[in-house]
Amino acid sequence: MSRVLLLQGNQAVVEGAIAAGVKFFAGYPITPSTEVAESLAEKLPQVGGKFIQMEDEIASMGAVIGASLTGKKVMTATSGPGFSLKQELIGYACAAEIPLVIVNVQRVGPSTGQPTSPSQGDLMQARWGTHGDHWLIALTPASVPECFELTLRAYALSEKYRVPVILLMDEVIGHMREKIELPDDYSEFPQAERKQPDCKPEDFKAYATDESLVPAMPAFGSGYRWHVTGLVHDETGFPKGTPAATLAAANRQRAKIENNLDDIVQVENYRMEDAEFAVVAFGGGARTAYETVDMARKEGLKVGLVRPVTIWPFAEAQMKELAGKVKGILVHELNCGQYVHEVERAVNGKVPVSLYAKYDNEPATPAQLLEEVKKAMAAL
Protein backbone atom coordinates (compact mmCIF):
# COMPACT_ATOMS: atom_id res chain seq x y z
CA MET A 1 0.00 0.00 0.00
CA SER A 2 1.13 3.53 -0.67
CA ARG A 3 0.14 7.03 0.31
CA VAL A 4 -0.23 10.11 -1.91
CA LEU A 5 0.97 13.10 0.05
CA LEU A 6 1.54 16.80 -0.40
CA LEU A 7 4.94 17.31 1.21
CA GLN A 8 7.61 19.96 1.41
CA GLY A 9 11.05 19.08 0.09
CA ASN A 10 12.32 19.29 3.66
CA GLN A 11 9.69 16.79 4.83
CA ALA A 12 10.55 14.43 1.95
CA VAL A 13 14.19 14.50 3.15
CA VAL A 14 12.93 13.35 6.54
CA GLU A 15 10.95 10.49 4.99
CA GLY A 16 14.06 9.55 2.99
CA ALA A 17 16.16 9.59 6.16
CA ILE A 18 13.74 7.29 7.97
CA ALA A 19 13.64 4.97 4.94
CA ALA A 20 17.46 4.95 4.80
CA GLY A 21 17.61 3.81 8.42
CA VAL A 22 18.82 7.03 10.03
CA LYS A 23 18.80 6.65 13.82
CA PHE A 24 20.48 9.86 14.98
CA PHE A 25 20.04 13.56 14.29
CA ALA A 26 21.83 16.43 16.01
CA GLY A 27 21.25 19.96 14.85
CA TYR A 28 20.25 23.50 15.55
CA PRO A 29 17.12 24.68 13.71
CA ILE A 30 17.55 27.41 11.11
CA THR A 31 15.32 28.70 8.30
CA PRO A 32 14.84 27.45 5.59
CA SER A 33 15.90 24.00 6.85
CA THR A 34 13.91 23.98 10.11
CA GLU A 35 11.26 21.49 8.96
CA VAL A 36 13.96 18.81 8.67
CA ALA A 37 14.73 19.10 12.39
CA GLU A 38 11.08 19.62 13.33
CA SER A 39 9.87 16.46 11.56
CA LEU A 40 12.80 14.30 12.67
CA ALA A 41 12.16 15.34 16.29
CA GLU A 42 8.73 13.77 15.86
CA LYS A 43 9.67 10.73 13.75
CA LEU A 44 13.03 9.51 15.08
CA PRO A 45 11.71 8.47 18.52
CA GLN A 46 9.02 6.41 16.73
CA VAL A 47 11.72 4.25 15.07
CA GLY A 48 13.96 3.91 18.11
CA GLY A 49 16.19 6.81 17.05
CA LYS A 50 17.52 9.82 18.93
CA PHE A 51 17.02 13.51 18.19
CA ILE A 52 19.17 16.07 19.95
CA GLN A 53 18.89 19.81 19.61
CA MET A 54 22.45 20.92 20.35
CA GLU A 55 23.72 24.26 21.60
CA ASP A 56 25.01 25.19 18.14
CA GLU A 57 25.99 23.90 14.72
CA ILE A 58 29.60 23.09 15.64
CA ALA A 59 28.50 20.83 18.48
CA SER A 60 25.86 19.26 16.19
CA MET A 61 28.53 18.32 13.71
CA GLY A 62 30.68 16.80 16.47
CA ALA A 63 27.70 14.83 17.74
CA VAL A 64 26.87 13.28 14.36
CA ILE A 65 30.53 12.31 13.86
CA GLY A 66 30.54 10.57 17.23
CA ALA A 67 27.23 8.83 16.57
CA SER A 68 28.40 7.64 13.16
CA LEU A 69 31.43 6.01 14.82
CA THR A 70 29.03 3.85 16.83
CA GLY A 71 27.72 2.41 13.56
CA LYS A 72 24.55 4.50 13.19
CA LYS A 73 23.37 6.36 10.11
CA VAL A 74 23.31 10.03 11.06
CA MET A 75 22.07 13.37 9.76
CA THR A 76 22.40 17.04 10.52
CA ALA A 77 20.60 19.90 8.73
CA THR A 78 21.30 23.59 8.46
CA SER A 79 21.43 26.69 6.28
CA GLY A 80 24.19 29.17 5.34
CA PRO A 81 25.35 30.53 8.73
CA GLY A 82 25.23 27.06 10.28
CA PHE A 83 26.91 25.48 7.24
CA SER A 84 29.81 27.90 7.74
CA LEU A 85 30.14 26.80 11.38
CA LYS A 86 30.15 23.12 10.42
CA GLN A 87 33.05 23.44 8.01
CA GLU A 88 35.94 22.59 10.33
CA LEU A 89 34.36 19.32 11.41
CA ILE A 90 33.34 18.49 7.83
CA GLY A 91 37.08 18.46 7.19
CA TYR A 92 37.56 16.19 10.20
CA ALA A 93 34.94 13.79 8.78
CA CYS A 94 36.79 13.81 5.43
CA ALA A 95 40.15 13.14 7.12
CA ALA A 96 38.89 10.40 9.43
CA GLU A 97 36.55 9.07 6.68
CA ILE A 98 33.33 9.20 8.69
CA PRO A 99 30.08 8.53 6.78
CA LEU A 100 27.39 11.15 7.44
CA VAL A 101 24.87 13.34 5.63
CA ILE A 102 24.65 17.12 5.99
CA VAL A 103 21.55 18.83 4.62
CA ASN A 104 22.16 22.45 3.63
CA VAL A 105 19.02 24.27 2.50
CA GLN A 106 20.61 27.39 1.06
CA ARG A 107 19.36 30.90 1.80
CA VAL A 108 20.58 34.26 0.52
CA GLY A 109 23.96 35.08 2.05
CA PRO A 110 26.51 36.03 3.13
CA SER A 111 25.99 36.08 6.89
CA THR A 112 22.35 36.14 8.04
CA GLY A 113 21.43 37.32 4.54
CA GLN A 114 17.75 36.61 3.79
CA PRO A 115 16.52 33.63 5.79
CA THR A 116 13.34 32.98 3.79
CA SER A 117 14.65 33.63 0.28
CA PRO A 118 16.19 31.23 -2.25
CA SER A 119 19.81 31.20 -3.34
CA GLN A 120 22.43 28.77 -4.60
CA GLY A 121 25.33 30.80 -3.25
CA ASP A 122 26.89 27.97 -1.19
CA LEU A 123 27.82 25.95 -4.25
CA MET A 124 31.58 26.47 -3.97
CA GLN A 125 31.42 26.35 -0.18
CA ALA A 126 29.94 22.86 -0.40
CA ARG A 127 33.05 21.79 -2.32
CA TRP A 128 35.76 23.91 -0.75
CA GLY A 129 34.31 25.22 2.54
CA THR A 130 36.70 23.32 4.77
CA HIS A 131 40.42 23.87 4.48
CA GLY A 132 42.90 21.67 2.71
CA ASP A 133 42.60 19.29 -0.22
CA HIS A 134 39.68 16.99 0.44
CA TRP A 135 37.09 14.93 -1.39
CA LEU A 136 33.40 14.67 -0.74
CA ILE A 137 30.07 14.32 -2.55
CA ALA A 138 27.18 16.80 -2.93
CA LEU A 139 23.76 16.05 -4.43
CA THR A 140 21.13 18.59 -5.52
CA PRO A 141 17.45 17.58 -5.77
CA ALA A 142 15.04 19.46 -8.06
CA SER A 143 11.70 18.07 -6.87
CA VAL A 144 10.00 16.79 -3.74
CA PRO A 145 10.10 13.13 -4.86
CA GLU A 146 13.78 13.59 -5.70
CA CYS A 147 14.44 14.91 -2.16
CA PHE A 148 13.33 11.50 -0.94
CA GLU A 149 15.31 9.55 -3.55
CA LEU A 150 18.52 11.54 -3.15
CA THR A 151 18.42 11.25 0.63
CA LEU A 152 18.45 7.47 0.22
CA ARG A 153 21.22 7.80 -2.35
CA ALA A 154 23.21 10.09 -0.05
CA TYR A 155 23.39 7.28 2.53
CA ALA A 156 24.25 4.67 -0.09
CA LEU A 157 27.20 6.78 -1.29
CA SER A 158 28.30 7.95 2.14
CA GLU A 159 28.46 4.43 3.58
CA LYS A 160 30.03 2.93 0.46
CA TYR A 161 32.83 5.48 0.12
CA ARG A 162 33.11 6.61 3.75
CA VAL A 163 32.74 10.29 2.93
CA PRO A 164 30.48 13.10 4.11
CA VAL A 165 27.67 13.65 1.61
CA ILE A 166 26.06 17.07 1.39
CA LEU A 167 22.45 17.29 0.30
CA LEU A 168 22.73 20.76 -1.23
CA MET A 169 19.18 22.09 -1.48
CA ASP A 170 17.72 25.55 -1.95
CA GLU A 171 14.71 27.32 -0.47
CA VAL A 172 12.61 26.75 -3.61
CA ILE A 173 12.84 22.97 -3.29
CA GLY A 174 13.00 22.82 0.52
CA HIS A 175 9.80 24.78 1.10
CA MET A 176 7.74 23.90 -1.98
CA ARG A 177 4.92 21.41 -1.43
CA GLU A 178 4.40 18.87 -4.18
CA LYS A 179 2.83 15.47 -4.75
CA ILE A 180 4.81 12.46 -3.64
CA GLU A 181 3.75 8.83 -3.46
CA LEU A 182 5.39 6.84 -0.67
CA PRO A 183 4.95 3.23 0.40
CA ASP A 184 3.44 2.62 3.85
CA ASP A 185 6.23 0.20 4.57
CA TYR A 186 9.81 1.38 4.15
CA SER A 187 11.36 -2.05 4.72
CA GLU A 188 11.53 -2.63 0.95
CA PHE A 189 14.26 0.00 0.59
CA PRO A 190 17.76 -1.48 0.62
CA GLN A 191 19.78 -0.40 3.64
CA ALA A 192 23.29 0.82 2.87
CA GLU A 193 25.82 -1.20 4.84
CA ARG A 194 29.29 -0.35 5.99
CA LYS A 195 32.08 -2.71 5.09
CA GLN A 196 33.13 -4.76 8.14
CA PRO A 197 36.60 -6.20 8.85
CA ASP A 198 37.19 -9.88 8.09
CA CYS A 199 40.16 -10.18 10.45
CA LYS A 200 40.35 -10.74 14.21
CA PRO A 201 40.15 -7.60 16.40
CA GLU A 202 43.84 -7.93 17.40
CA ASP A 203 44.93 -7.95 13.72
CA PHE A 204 42.74 -4.99 12.73
CA LYS A 205 44.35 -1.99 11.09
CA ALA A 206 41.82 0.82 10.90
CA TYR A 207 42.83 2.30 7.55
CA ALA A 208 44.16 -0.76 5.72
CA THR A 209 42.26 -1.24 2.45
CA ASP A 210 41.66 -3.65 -0.38
CA GLU A 211 41.42 -2.58 -4.04
CA SER A 212 38.26 -0.55 -3.28
CA LEU A 213 40.53 1.83 -1.32
CA VAL A 214 37.74 2.13 1.27
CA PRO A 215 38.72 0.82 4.70
CA ALA A 216 36.37 -1.38 6.74
CA MET A 217 34.64 0.45 9.57
CA PRO A 218 33.64 -1.55 12.65
CA ALA A 219 31.42 0.20 15.14
CA PHE A 220 32.82 1.48 18.40
CA GLY A 221 31.90 -1.04 21.05
CA SER A 222 32.09 -4.00 18.63
CA GLY A 223 35.44 -5.19 20.04
CA TYR A 224 37.53 -3.66 17.28
CA ARG A 225 39.62 -0.82 18.69
CA TRP A 226 40.95 2.03 16.62
CA HIS A 227 42.26 5.53 16.84
CA VAL A 228 40.37 8.41 15.19
CA THR A 229 42.23 11.59 14.38
CA GLY A 230 42.21 14.63 12.13
CA LEU A 231 45.99 14.44 11.89
CA VAL A 232 47.45 12.75 8.83
CA HIS A 233 47.67 9.07 9.75
CA ASP A 234 48.88 5.79 8.31
CA GLU A 235 46.89 2.56 8.07
CA THR A 236 47.08 2.03 11.82
CA GLY A 237 45.06 5.20 12.35
CA PHE A 238 47.84 6.81 14.40
CA PRO A 239 49.43 10.09 13.30
CA LYS A 240 52.29 9.78 10.86
CA GLY A 241 53.60 12.83 9.06
CA THR A 242 56.25 11.47 6.74
CA PRO A 243 56.12 12.58 3.08
CA ALA A 244 55.24 9.01 2.07
CA ALA A 245 52.37 8.71 4.59
CA THR A 246 51.06 12.16 3.66
CA LEU A 247 51.08 11.31 -0.02
CA ALA A 248 49.49 7.90 0.53
CA ALA A 249 46.63 9.33 2.58
CA ALA A 250 45.84 12.10 0.09
CA ASN A 251 46.11 9.85 -2.95
CA ARG A 252 43.90 7.13 -1.52
CA GLN A 253 41.20 9.54 -0.35
CA ARG A 254 41.15 11.15 -3.77
CA ALA A 255 41.28 7.89 -5.71
CA LYS A 256 38.43 6.24 -3.80
CA ILE A 257 36.18 8.99 -5.24
CA GLU A 258 37.81 9.70 -8.59
CA ASN A 259 38.03 6.01 -9.56
CA ASN A 260 34.27 5.77 -9.14
CA LEU A 261 32.89 8.82 -10.93
CA ASP A 262 30.68 6.59 -13.13
CA ASP A 263 28.95 5.38 -9.98
CA ILE A 264 28.82 8.74 -8.22
CA VAL A 265 28.09 11.39 -10.86
CA GLN A 266 24.52 11.57 -12.17
CA VAL A 267 23.30 14.08 -14.75
CA GLU A 268 19.76 14.26 -16.13
CA ASN A 269 19.14 15.26 -19.74
CA TYR A 270 15.77 16.80 -20.67
CA ARG A 271 14.83 17.13 -24.38
CA MET A 272 18.53 16.89 -25.29
CA GLU A 273 18.17 14.25 -28.08
CA ASP A 274 18.30 16.77 -30.94
CA ALA A 275 19.18 19.90 -28.94
CA GLU A 276 21.47 22.47 -30.54
CA PHE A 277 21.63 24.62 -27.44
CA ALA A 278 21.79 23.53 -23.80
CA VAL A 279 20.73 25.19 -20.58
CA VAL A 280 22.65 23.90 -17.55
CA ALA A 281 20.65 24.39 -14.35
CA PHE A 282 20.07 22.55 -11.08
CA GLY A 283 17.85 22.53 -7.99
CA GLY A 284 15.30 25.35 -7.92
CA GLY A 285 16.85 26.90 -11.04
CA ALA A 286 16.10 23.72 -13.00
CA ARG A 287 12.38 24.11 -12.26
CA THR A 288 12.45 27.33 -14.27
CA ALA A 289 14.58 25.71 -16.97
CA TYR A 290 12.26 22.74 -17.67
CA GLU A 291 9.49 25.16 -18.51
CA THR A 292 11.78 27.44 -20.50
CA VAL A 293 12.85 24.47 -22.62
CA ASP A 294 9.20 23.58 -23.28
CA MET A 295 8.46 27.20 -24.27
CA ALA A 296 11.51 27.31 -26.57
CA ARG A 297 10.49 24.05 -28.24
CA LYS A 298 7.02 25.46 -28.93
CA GLU A 299 8.76 28.28 -30.80
CA GLY A 300 10.81 25.77 -32.78
CA LEU A 301 14.09 26.38 -30.95
CA LYS A 302 16.08 23.20 -30.36
CA VAL A 303 16.91 23.77 -26.71
CA GLY A 304 17.44 21.14 -24.01
CA LEU A 305 18.30 21.03 -20.31
CA VAL A 306 21.30 19.35 -18.72
CA ARG A 307 20.74 19.03 -14.98
CA PRO A 308 23.58 17.93 -12.71
CA VAL A 309 22.02 15.82 -9.95
CA THR A 310 25.44 15.17 -8.45
CA ILE A 311 26.86 18.66 -8.10
CA TRP A 312 30.21 17.51 -6.61
CA PRO A 313 32.35 15.86 -7.86
CA PHE A 314 31.90 18.03 -10.94
CA ALA A 315 30.37 16.32 -13.99
CA GLU A 316 33.55 16.85 -15.99
CA ALA A 317 33.10 14.05 -18.54
CA GLN A 318 29.44 14.93 -19.15
CA MET A 319 30.20 18.61 -19.74
CA LYS A 320 33.08 17.78 -22.11
CA GLU A 321 30.74 15.49 -24.05
CA LEU A 322 28.06 18.18 -24.10
CA ALA A 323 30.54 20.64 -25.66
CA GLY A 324 30.86 18.24 -28.60
CA LYS A 325 27.10 18.03 -29.14
CA VAL A 326 25.71 21.57 -28.95
CA LYS A 327 26.54 24.98 -30.43
CA GLY A 328 26.29 26.86 -27.16
CA ILE A 329 25.62 26.53 -23.42
CA LEU A 330 23.85 28.84 -20.97
CA VAL A 331 24.43 28.20 -17.27
CA HIS A 332 21.60 29.43 -15.06
CA GLU A 333 22.25 29.64 -11.32
CA LEU A 334 20.80 31.53 -8.36
CA ASN A 335 24.06 33.26 -7.44
CA CYS A 336 26.49 35.63 -9.14
CA GLY A 337 28.13 32.78 -11.08
CA GLN A 338 29.91 29.82 -9.48
CA TYR A 339 29.15 26.59 -11.35
CA VAL A 340 29.65 28.42 -14.67
CA HIS A 341 33.41 28.58 -14.03
CA GLU A 342 33.58 24.80 -13.76
CA VAL A 343 31.57 24.43 -16.97
CA GLU A 344 33.84 26.91 -18.77
CA ARG A 345 36.90 25.00 -17.59
CA ALA A 346 35.54 21.69 -18.91
CA VAL A 347 34.24 23.12 -22.19
CA ASN A 348 37.59 24.88 -22.64
CA GLY A 349 36.49 27.26 -25.40
CA LYS A 350 35.00 24.58 -27.66
CA VAL A 351 31.60 26.34 -27.71
CA PRO A 352 30.47 29.63 -26.14
CA VAL A 353 29.38 29.39 -22.50
CA SER A 354 27.24 32.21 -21.09
CA LEU A 355 25.73 32.86 -17.68
CA TYR A 356 22.29 33.88 -16.50
CA ALA A 357 22.92 34.75 -12.86
CA LYS A 358 19.84 35.51 -10.73
CA TYR A 359 20.62 36.77 -7.25
CA ASP A 360 17.81 39.18 -6.34
CA ASN A 361 16.16 36.71 -3.90
CA GLU A 362 13.54 35.46 -6.38
CA PRO A 363 13.84 32.58 -8.83
CA ALA A 364 13.88 33.52 -12.52
CA THR A 365 10.58 33.10 -14.33
CA PRO A 366 10.55 30.79 -17.37
CA ALA A 367 9.96 33.85 -19.61
CA GLN A 368 13.01 35.64 -18.18
CA LEU A 369 15.23 32.61 -18.77
CA LEU A 370 13.82 32.18 -22.30
CA GLU A 371 14.81 35.73 -23.11
CA GLU A 372 18.38 35.00 -21.94
CA VAL A 373 18.45 31.79 -24.00
CA LYS A 374 17.39 33.74 -27.10
CA LYS A 375 20.06 36.38 -26.49
CA ALA A 376 22.73 33.72 -26.09
CA MET A 377 21.56 31.87 -29.22
CA ALA A 378 21.49 35.09 -31.25
CA ALA A 379 25.11 35.77 -30.26
CA LEU A 380 26.34 32.39 -31.56
Binding site: V172, E178, P363, P366
Partner: protein, 175 residues
Protein backbone atom coordinates in the same frame (compact mmCIF):
# COMPACT_ATOMS: atom_id res chain seq x y z
CA UNK B 1 -5.68 23.11 -17.86
CA UNK B 2 -3.44 25.10 -15.53
CA UNK B 3 -4.94 27.38 -12.88
CA UNK B 4 -2.93 29.71 -10.68
CA UNK B 5 -4.01 31.11 -7.31
CA UNK B 6 -2.38 33.60 -4.99
CA UNK B 7 -3.75 33.76 -1.45
CA UNK B 8 -2.43 36.79 0.39
CA UNK B 9 -2.91 38.70 3.58
CA UNK B 10 -1.18 39.27 6.88
CA UNK B 11 1.01 36.67 8.57
CA UNK B 12 -1.22 34.82 11.06
CA UNK B 13 -4.43 34.85 8.96
CA UNK B 14 -3.88 31.22 7.99
CA UNK B 15 -3.30 31.72 4.29
CA UNK B 16 -0.39 29.31 4.02
CA UNK B 17 -2.65 26.66 5.54
CA UNK B 18 -5.43 27.66 3.12
CA UNK B 19 -3.03 27.13 0.21
CA UNK B 20 -2.01 23.71 1.51
CA UNK B 21 -5.68 22.70 1.88
CA UNK B 22 -6.50 23.86 -1.66
CA UNK B 23 -3.55 21.90 -3.08
CA UNK B 24 -4.47 18.79 -1.09
CA UNK B 25 -8.05 19.02 -2.33
CA UNK B 26 -6.70 19.05 -5.89
CA UNK B 27 -4.68 15.87 -5.21
CA UNK B 28 -7.85 14.25 -3.84
CA UNK B 29 -9.51 15.11 -7.18
CA UNK B 30 -6.66 13.29 -8.95
CA UNK B 31 -4.98 16.45 -10.22
CA UNK B 32 -1.44 17.72 -9.70
CA UNK B 33 -0.73 20.68 -7.46
CA UNK B 34 2.16 22.70 -6.11
CA UNK B 35 1.98 25.07 -3.16
CA UNK B 36 4.69 27.55 -2.33
CA UNK B 37 4.91 30.53 -0.06
CA UNK B 38 6.81 33.65 0.60
CA UNK B 39 7.00 35.42 3.87
CA UNK B 40 9.34 37.65 5.81
CA UNK B 41 11.38 36.69 8.87
CA UNK B 42 8.62 37.84 11.28
CA UNK B 43 6.19 35.27 12.76
CA UNK B 44 3.12 37.53 12.80
CA UNK B 45 2.23 40.56 10.72
CA UNK B 46 3.89 41.53 7.45
CA UNK B 47 2.42 40.72 4.05
CA UNK B 48 2.38 36.98 3.38
CA UNK B 49 1.40 35.01 0.30
CA UNK B 50 0.72 31.38 -0.45
CA UNK B 51 0.62 30.34 -4.07
CA UNK B 52 -1.09 27.28 -5.52
CA UNK B 53 -0.87 25.94 -9.05
CA UNK B 54 -3.31 23.21 -10.06
CA UNK B 55 -3.03 21.32 -13.33
CA UNK B 56 -3.66 18.00 -15.08
CA UNK B 57 -0.11 18.08 -16.46
CA UNK B 58 3.33 18.24 -14.83
CA UNK B 59 3.98 21.60 -13.16
CA UNK B 60 7.62 22.64 -13.39
CA UNK B 61 7.92 26.28 -12.33
CA UNK B 62 6.35 26.44 -8.86
CA UNK B 63 5.57 30.17 -8.66
CA UNK B 64 2.52 31.99 -9.99
CA UNK B 65 3.20 34.15 -13.06
CA UNK B 66 -0.38 34.64 -14.32
CA UNK B 67 -2.70 34.73 -11.32
CA UNK B 68 -6.17 33.53 -12.23
CA UNK B 69 -7.38 34.48 -8.77
CA UNK B 70 -5.85 36.78 -6.20
CA UNK B 71 -7.31 36.59 -2.72
CA UNK B 72 -6.32 39.69 -0.75
CA UNK B 73 -7.16 39.74 2.95
CA UNK B 74 -5.29 42.94 3.78
CA UNK B 75 -4.75 46.29 2.07
CA UNK B 76 -0.97 45.77 2.23
CA UNK B 77 -1.22 42.42 0.49
CA UNK B 78 -3.64 43.82 -2.10
CA UNK B 79 -1.23 46.64 -2.93
CA UNK B 80 1.84 44.38 -2.96
CA UNK B 81 0.56 41.32 -4.82
CA UNK B 82 -1.87 42.73 -7.42
CA UNK B 83 0.80 44.07 -9.82
CA UNK B 84 0.48 41.23 -12.35
CA UNK B 85 -3.33 40.95 -12.53
CA UNK B 86 -4.87 41.36 -15.99
CA UNK B 87 -8.37 41.51 -17.43
CA UNK B 88 -8.74 37.72 -17.17
CA UNK B 89 -7.82 37.69 -13.47
CA UNK B 90 -10.30 37.72 -10.62
CA UNK B 91 -9.68 39.61 -7.39
CA UNK B 92 -11.39 38.54 -4.17
CA UNK B 93 -10.95 40.95 -1.27
CA UNK B 94 -11.91 40.87 2.36
CA UNK B 95 -14.07 43.99 2.48
CA UNK B 96 -13.29 44.57 6.16
CA UNK B 97 -9.60 45.20 5.41
CA UNK B 98 -9.40 46.24 1.76
CA UNK B 99 -10.94 49.55 0.82
CA UNK B 100 -8.72 50.59 -2.09
CA UNK B 101 -9.17 48.17 -4.98
CA UNK B 102 -6.76 48.32 -7.94
CA UNK B 103 -8.14 48.96 -11.41
CA UNK B 104 -6.82 46.09 -13.53
CA UNK B 105 -9.78 45.53 -15.84
CA UNK B 106 -10.94 42.22 -14.37
CA UNK B 107 -13.71 41.14 -12.02
CA UNK B 108 -13.62 42.07 -8.34
CA UNK B 109 -15.54 40.37 -5.55
CA UNK B 110 -15.51 42.41 -2.35
CA UNK B 111 -16.68 39.87 0.24
CA UNK B 112 -17.33 40.25 3.99
CA UNK B 113 -15.03 37.30 4.80
CA UNK B 114 -13.73 38.20 8.26
CA UNK B 115 -17.02 39.94 9.13
CA UNK B 116 -18.92 36.68 8.40
CA UNK B 117 -16.47 34.67 10.49
CA UNK B 118 -17.14 36.90 13.48
CA UNK B 119 -20.92 37.09 12.93
CA UNK B 120 -21.51 33.48 11.89
CA UNK B 121 -18.95 31.58 13.99
CA UNK B 122 -17.92 33.99 16.71
CA UNK B 123 -14.24 33.79 15.77
CA UNK B 124 -12.29 35.54 13.05
CA UNK B 125 -9.85 32.65 12.80
CA UNK B 126 -12.28 30.82 10.47
CA UNK B 127 -11.81 33.55 7.85
CA UNK B 128 -9.33 31.49 5.84
CA UNK B 129 -11.75 28.57 5.50
CA UNK B 130 -14.60 30.92 4.58
CA UNK B 131 -12.36 32.42 1.89
CA UNK B 132 -11.63 28.93 0.52
CA UNK B 133 -15.35 28.17 0.35
CA UNK B 134 -15.95 31.34 -1.65
CA UNK B 135 -12.96 30.77 -3.94
CA UNK B 136 -13.99 27.20 -4.76
CA UNK B 137 -17.65 28.14 -5.32
CA UNK B 138 -16.51 30.86 -7.71
CA UNK B 139 -13.96 28.84 -9.71
CA UNK B 140 -14.98 25.20 -9.31
CA UNK B 141 -11.27 24.38 -9.36
CA UNK B 142 -11.79 21.47 -6.96
CA UNK B 143 -14.92 19.54 -6.01
CA UNK B 144 -16.82 20.59 -2.89
CA UNK B 145 -16.38 17.03 -1.53
CA UNK B 146 -12.59 17.09 -1.88
CA UNK B 147 -12.42 20.57 -0.39
CA UNK B 148 -14.37 19.49 2.68
CA UNK B 149 -12.26 16.36 3.08
CA UNK B 150 -9.03 18.37 2.73
CA UNK B 151 -10.22 20.90 5.32
CA UNK B 152 -11.18 18.19 7.81
CA UNK B 153 -7.80 16.46 7.34
CA UNK B 154 -6.00 19.59 8.45
CA UNK B 155 -8.05 21.20 11.23
CA UNK B 156 -7.87 20.37 14.96
CA UNK B 157 -10.17 17.66 16.30
CA UNK B 158 -13.40 19.05 17.73
CA UNK B 159 -13.57 21.92 15.22
CA UNK B 160 -14.99 19.87 12.33
CA UNK B 161 -18.54 21.21 12.52
CA UNK B 162 -17.43 24.81 12.73
CA UNK B 163 -15.15 24.35 9.75
CA UNK B 164 -17.95 22.71 7.72
CA UNK B 165 -20.10 25.69 8.60
CA UNK B 166 -17.27 28.04 7.58
CA UNK B 167 -17.16 26.41 4.13
CA UNK B 168 -20.94 26.82 3.81
CA UNK B 169 -20.77 30.48 4.78
CA UNK B 170 -17.98 31.01 2.24
CA UNK B 171 -19.93 29.38 -0.55
CA UNK B 172 -23.03 31.41 0.29
CA UNK B 173 -21.06 34.64 -0.22
CA UNK B 174 -21.00 33.87 -3.95
CA UNK B 175 -24.50 34.33 -5.34
Amino acid sequence: MRQEFRLSGTGGQGLILAGIILAEAALLDGKLAIQSQSYGPEARGGASKSEVIISDEAIHFPKVTKPGVLLAMSQDACDKYSHDLDKDSVLITDSLFVSKVPDFGGKVYELPITHSAREGLGKILFANIIALGALVKLTGVVSAESLEKAVLNRVPKGTEDKNRKALEIGMSLIK
